[in-house]
């Protein structure tokens, strides 16, 4: 292996390179660590973060979901199950003719791609910021309307800090025959 011998200039240059390296690590030692101490601290997710799903309501309490099951058709993992039922005058859940009587998402099959959110005509199913959805038993991962539907409060709500969708609190459009 032919190499020319290192002169003193080469040696000094190498020593300067080493010193540079040591200076870098030493300065890193004096830098505040960038670690986020989970679970005591959490990072705020981006506005468009695709976390746990939510079934939204209008500001008067009516569910936005009309049971059209376009989300189930769009889902690449076939994780959504929708069974629609007719709204009657005495029992009305959503403005319009139909509502989702059964709405289930299998969180193990779900890949959190957001296609259901894109497909929904009313903006009922959206993906929120929640990502801590671990559980112990496989059967507990099938979320029904009881876990997906957002709760209704009669007083006006501020926009939730965890969801940037203004659609959370909008009024029902006139065209749907809302009360």
């Amino acid at each position: 292996m032919a190499q020319r011998s290192s002169g003193i200039g080469d040696v000094l240059g190498d020593i300067r390179a080493f010193a540079n390296g040591f200076k870098t690590t030493f300065q890193a030692l004096l830098t505040k660590p960038v670690t986020v101490q989970y679970p005591e601290q959490r990072i705020t997710m981006a506005k468009r973060y695709r976390g746990l799903h939510k079934l939204l309501r209008y500001s008067d309490g009516m569910e936005k979901c009309i049971g059209c099951s376009l989300c189930a058709a769009a889902c690449p993992a076939k994780a959504i199950r929708v069974v629609a039922a007719e709204n009657t005058e005495s029992e009305r859940y959503s403005p319009g003719e139909r509502y989702a009587a059964i709405y289930e998402i299998n969180m193990i099959r779900c890949i959190f791609c957001g296609y259901c959110e894109e497909a929904c005509p009313t903006g009922a199913i959206v993906l929120g910021q929640q990502y801590e959805i671990s559980d112990y038993h496989r059967d507990d991962f099938i979320y029904g309307k009881d876990r997906l539907l957002v709760p209704f409060t009669s007083r006006p709500r501020e926009t939730e800090t965890e969801n940037a969708y203004a659609g959370d609190v909008e009024a029902a459009p006139e065209a749907m025959g809302a009360r």
């Binding site: 690590t25 890193a28 030692l29 660590p33 960038v34 670690t35």
Partner: protein, 365 residues
Amino acid sequence: MDVLGGAGGLLTLVSPLGAVLGAQSLDAFVVVEAIIYAALLAFVLVTGFAYSTLLERKLIGRMQVRYGPNRVGPYGLLQPAADGVKLFFKEDVVPATVDRPTYFLAPMIMVVTALLAFAVIPIGPTFNIAGHPVELALMDVNIGILFTLAITSITVYGIVLAGWSSNNKYSLLGGIRSAAQMISYELAIGLGLVGVLIISGSLSLQDIVNQQDKIWTINAFRTPIGFIVYLLAGIAETNRAPFDLAEAEGELGAGYHTEYVGMRFGMFFLAEYVNMITVSAIATTFFLGGWQGPWVGTIPILGVVWFILKVFLGMCGYMWLRATLPRIRYDRLMRLGWLVLLPLGIANVLWASFFYALWQTFGWV
């Protein structure tokens, strides 16, 4: 009593009790002191090993702009305990085709030599308890450093036997490479230390430390080349980054401790870190003045504090190197040992002789 003294002189190489027997008077106080000191030393070294693993992880973490382990206890202080428990509870798998006596012997050799090499190092000045002088070295024999160098040479046996008895071609090769590296750098270590020996005129570590009482008598200033040679060779001797190709092979393919699991692997780990502590301790003893420091004359126990501080800085230096430098390829490593450090070591001996001659002739410091 003289026969006892002679036999004791030989036994000194084998056990601390030998140091006791070699003493001219078989004083009960000396026996008690030796036993207490030996037990304390073993305990301190093993605890030091445990917490130097934590220091490494936290220090290297901080150099990588992250926290080290901080979950297990406050600031991660119970992490070594958790690691120890984990290693103990691992299943003790012994491969069927290993050479059983050697397989079990190799980690023992590593641990014993690692702990024993520390026996001659003085950690503090000699002071008096109830009229008896108490030396803060387990044995201050007049062959001092020769003892430590001999013991660390036996470590090579541990590595080769570990690799060989594993009945695994790759472990064997890894063990041989690691052993070759250690043997090569022992020469450089010796030459780095010879410079100090020429200036001090004694192999005994107590004498070497006692002579470094003023700031201009510190051997790092008198034999700077020797200091650097010793540090580099010491890092290579302990198979630490950037000279840790033998260890990395354990991650990449095989190394001499591949076939070891659980606490048996922990023994190799312990031996490595205790060797690091020993190299740091010898570097501070020879080149940085050992336990010397300000105000040691008035408060003798402060000497122990200075010693621990210097060894701690040495350990931090080890970890700083590991965090900063990439690994050196094995053939370049060997070239460094034979073609750079050996000539520098010889140059160091020449310089030390020259310096000593001038010092003796003209009375310079």
